[in-house]
């Protein structure tokens, strides 16, 4: 029952995303053909060629027919051609996606680990100076726009100190092998650091508040009365605090991917984010729509992962069978 509801929910989200993709060019002022195949091309066409192009782009017929053919295209992974690059949108996406994953996944893991550790530490020391400083520092970090932090990191560590390259994801010329891998890793450092620092805040605050909640619970008193030491007691509280943190983390994939868009732009990192930015600059509409759809799918994948794995971390969802028995 619950699973069916969830799946329906996700199907609905995909449908809404597709519909937005379909409807936005129709609602926006301008020539729908320009949106589909690019302005330059659309304007030079003869009326006959234009009619043919309209038909190919699925822009003839009633709105409903257009919608139908659009959905059909989307389901067969035909998202049109990039007006800027001339390649199928799907191919370009497949090309760029791995780069984004390479910086987003390490950032997710890193920021989660650091934030949970710091959050638990701050909560345990609530009311002390350390908590105050951590909280202030993290709130400051959270109020920085990711792109700005990226620019500052480039200026300091890339330009002034010269420790890291400031541009791209891989060297243009390389012999391959270990030196190539090292160069790629080196170029990952600053983007990963930026995304990690920017996303630290929300995880930290959530961990801290969930941890404070657990620390005030009766089972913590029981743990103390048992004679459990500090480490055991922190683990008692943290194990419970991890539940909301875990859910939030899997769900917040979308924020992270979103953050990657602007950060990639600053670092000219050839992932999905810069792709989106380049398409915006070139008004490459099919490409933009493709990116939007891809990120939507990624978010849903994150949600499904959360739903599937949550029972592993919370026993209360796992078993519903009441057990009883007194002698």
């Amino acid at each position: 029952m619950r699973i069916a509801g969830k799946l329906l929910q996700y199907a609905l989200v995909i449908l809404v995303a597709l519909t937005l993709n379909f409807a936005l060019p129709k609602l926006a002022p301008g020539d729908p053909l320009s949106f589909a195949i690019g302005e330059a091309l659309a304007q030079e066409m003869t009326p006959e060629a234009r009619a043919k192009a309209m038909q190919e782009a699925g822009l003839d017929g009633t709105l409903l027919e257009q919608y139908g053919s659009f959905l059909k295209g989307a389901l067969t992974l035909d998202l049109g051609h990039s007006t800027k690059l001339g390649e199928p949108v799907v191919d370009v996406l497949a090309d760029r996606l791995p780069w984004t994953l390479r910086i987003v996944l390490p950032s997710l893991v890193l920021s989660a680990l650091i934030a949970v550790a710091l959050g638990a530490y701050a909560a345990w020391n609530r009311g002390r100076k350390r908590d105050l400083w951590l909280l202030g520092g993290i709130l400051t970090m959270e109020s920085m726009p990711g792109f700005w932090l990226g620019m500052i990191l480039i200026a300091v560590f890339g330009v002034q100190l010269g420790w890291f390259p400031t541009y791209g994801a891989a060297p243009l010329f390389s012999a391959g092998g270990w030196s190539y891998a090292a160069a790629v890793l080196q170029r990952m450092v600053l983007p990963v650091a930026t995304i990690t620092l920017v996303s630290l805040g929300s995880y930290f605050l959530l961990t801290r508040s969930a941890m404070l909640d657990s620390l005030g619970q009766d089972y913590m008193m029981m743990a103390e009365a048992k004679g459990a030491g500090k480490r055991r007691r922190i683990w008692h509280a943290l194990r419970n605090a991890l539940l909301p943190v875990y859910t939030h983390m899997t769900m917040s994939l979308s924020m992270l991917v979103g953050g990657a868009v602007v950060v990639e732009t600053v670092f000219s990192y050839p992932g999905i984010g810069s792709l989106l930015y380049e398409s915006v600059l070139a008004r490459d509409f099919p490409m933009m729509q493709g990116v939007f759809l891809l990120i939507t799918l990624a978010v849903i994948a994150g949600n499904i992962l959360a739903d599937l794995t949550y029972p592993l971390v919370d026993p209360r969802v796992r078993s519903r069978r009441p057990r009883e028995g007194t002698r």
Binding site: L12, R128, F147, I152, Y219, M222, G259, L276
Partner: protein
């Protein structure tokens, strides 16, 4: 003042003040800046990329526009969009939230579906897509912000309304026959409004950040300068590759940080004020360190311990200093108490009498601001002088606590077996087989079937949980157990079972026990001696029979008389009867069942 003594609210208040200062200063800058700075941000007024100084406090950008002037103009744009975007999204969110939360049913289902979908869609890409198709302008930015942020507000508000709807004031108004309009007007809105303010602050923060991202991606109003668009140009000209980054890139970002930080501090402060739950925990004082927890064992008492006493308390006083006032609230005043081996001492008191504080004081587990004085000797050892480590070795090993609210005393994410095992491993190393054997005996004693070991707490009934908690207290064979309200919250039938169980265990194992309860009949049943506690002081003491028959203390008498004895009232209604009600003519349901 020392930071530590500021406590939760004080610190939050300080953050609130800092936040108000940050935000206020930025608003002043936005209002007055353009009037005071002699340069027009749109005009070239200096050399390109001029360093700070020379009439341009923060230098110029690549076409020679004054950066300070740009920042002031940007402050106006960013703050305007921040406020307008927040206001727009709050308006939609509040409407949807109230409608969904209050109407319920299909309206709720449909609206919440929409909210969920909207929250699942990826935020930033959607923002970019909308920005591109709607064309860059300030009104687009506000619209995009509203479209993206209403859902969060709606969801929060709905859940708040749902919870308020089940609360007492609304329920009683409905029982009085109040209509929807009345309840909404008189109860729900006044209760939700204070909660909306932190939400609004959050929305402002998010709007400002979104505006800067949109502008940074070139989707801002091309005619207006905002902090984001300054950074857009700086990025496009690769300002961070030159020295100009210090005056061109850093200041606009600092403006954003300044404003957003101001808002988050205010938001944090308001939230802390609104949700007292966060006040429930404060870091424990480190023992021995100079801090809040001071313990002064009185010298007279230290010598008074006699052999043959399990526990001896002398002159125990516990106070909770009030954060604002000088005087403190005394929870316990000069308690004298002795527990002999094998004795059950019942401690009876009503709410506020200090019963639970007494249990915590004996366990040396008093909560944060408490200050205690006096002596607590357990088997000859002065507990107030022990280190954390020494205390840990005693707690749960030689002296155990069955805490109040045993319903929640088990950690919900672990099985009963794991929690019982942990109680053992805290104190001693046992082989697997020994462990199994010990747990087996224990389960036998408290009357739990061994299959319950695999269970998680939520799978057990209240009575079973209480038995598990008792088992956990007894697992290391302590000499002394404090049972704090062990029957509260249980049904009468289960209460009787638990009391019988504790009595039997006490006899079998020969432990001493303090049995704390507000329920005099229960204590009378189990205790060898009863101590009556009133507002933190022992007012009467004696064995149950003697207290209930002969005590002349007015408070004791009041408690004794409050027991609605069914034995004493042979004729249950000693009041004049009203016109004899006609006995029920309805068929007895029970008759069919028999």
């Amino acid at each position: 003042m020392k930071l530590g003594t500021l406590g939760g609210t004080g610190r939050a208040g300080m953050m609130g003040r800092i936040g108000l200062f940050l935000l206020g200063a930025m608003i002043l800058f936005a209002l007055l800046g353009p009037l005071l700075i002699p340069h027009d941000p749109m005009e070239r007024t200096g050399a390109p990329l001029a360093a700070p100084g020379d009439g341009h406090l923060l230098g110029t950008n690549d076409i020679g526009q004054d950066i300070l002037a740009e920042l002031a103009a940007g402050a106006r744009v960013s703050l305007t969009i921040g406020l307008a975007g927040a206001a727009a999204s709050m308006t939609i969110g509040v409407l949807v939230g109230v409608l969904a939360g209050y109407r319920g049913g299909w309206t709720d289902t449909l609206l919440m579906r929409a909210v969920d979908v909207s929250l699942t869609l990826p935020f930033l890409p959607l923002m970019i897509l909308l920005g591109v198709f709607l064309g860059p302008s300030m009104s687009t930015q506000i619209l995009v912000i509203a479209i993206l942020m209403w859902a969060k507000v709606a969801r929060e508000l709905r859940s708040q309304i749902l919870s308020i709807r089940t609360r007492g004031p609304v329920q009683s108004a409905r029982a009085m026959g109040a209509g929807d309009g009345y309840i909404l007007r008189k109860h729900i809105l006044p209760m939700t409004l204070p909660l909306l303010i932190p939400q609004f602050i959050q929305a402002v923060t998010a709007s400002i950040l979104m505006e800067s991202s949109l502008s940074f991606l070139g989707l801002g109003d091309p005619l207006a300068k905002s902090w984001g668009s300054i950074l857009f140009y700086a990025n496009a000209r690769s300002a961070f590759l030159t020295d100009a980054w210090i005056w061109w890139v850093v200041p606009p970002g600092l403006c954003i940080v300044w404003t957003v930080l101001g808002c988050s501090f205010i938001g944090y402060w308001l939230e802390e004020k609104a949700s007292p739950r966060l006040k429930s925990y404060a870091a424990p004082a480190e023992r021995g360190a100079r801090g809040w927890f001071r313990s002064r064992p009185s010298r007279t008492a230290a010598s008074a311990a006699k052999a043959g006493e399990t526990l001896r308390i002398d002159g125990l006083t516990v106070e909770y200093p009030k954060p604002d006032a000088q005087e403190s609230v005394a929870a316990l005043r000069g308690i004298e108490l002795v527990v002999k081996p094998g004795e059950i001492v019942g401690i009876v008191g009503e709410s506020g009498s200090g019963k639970t504080t007494l249990a915590a004081a004996i366990m040396q587990m008093l909560k944060h601001p408490a200050e205690s004085a006096g002596s607590i000797r357990f088997a000859g050892e002065e507990l107030t002088e022990l280190s954390d480590r020494e205390l840990r070795a005693i707690r749960g090993h030689r002296m155990a606590l069955v805490p109040q609210a045993a319903m929640n005393a088990l950690n919900p994410v672990w099985t009963v077996r794991k929690q019982l095992t942990e109680a053992i491993t805290c104190h001693r190393k046992l082989s697997r087989a020994e462990m199994e054997k010990r747990i087996g005996t224990l389960l036998e004693q408290v009357g739990i079937e061994s299959r319950c070991l695999q269970a998680y707490p939520h799978e057990l009934s209240g009575g079973m949980k209480q038995r598990v908690v008792i088992a956990m207290a007894l697992v290391n064979e302590p000499a002394f157990v404090i049972a704090d309200e062990p029957t509260t919250g249980l049904d009468v039938l289960v209460q009787a079972e638990i009391v019988a169980l504790l009595q039997r265990l006490q006899q079998q194992l020969g432990i001493s026990m303090i049995f704390i309860s507000h329920d005099l009949p229960v204590v009378k049943r189990i205790a060898d001696r009863i101590v009556i506690l009133e507002r933190g002081a022992v007012v009467d003491e004696g064995d149950p029979e003697q207290l209930s028959r002969h005590s002349t203390h007015p408070y004791t008498r009041k408690l004794m008389d409050a027991i609605p004895s069914i034995g004493r009232l042979e004729q249950p209604l000693e009041r004049p009867r009203p016109a004899q009600p006609t006995p029920s003519p309805e068929p007895l349901h029970a008759a069919a069942g028999r």
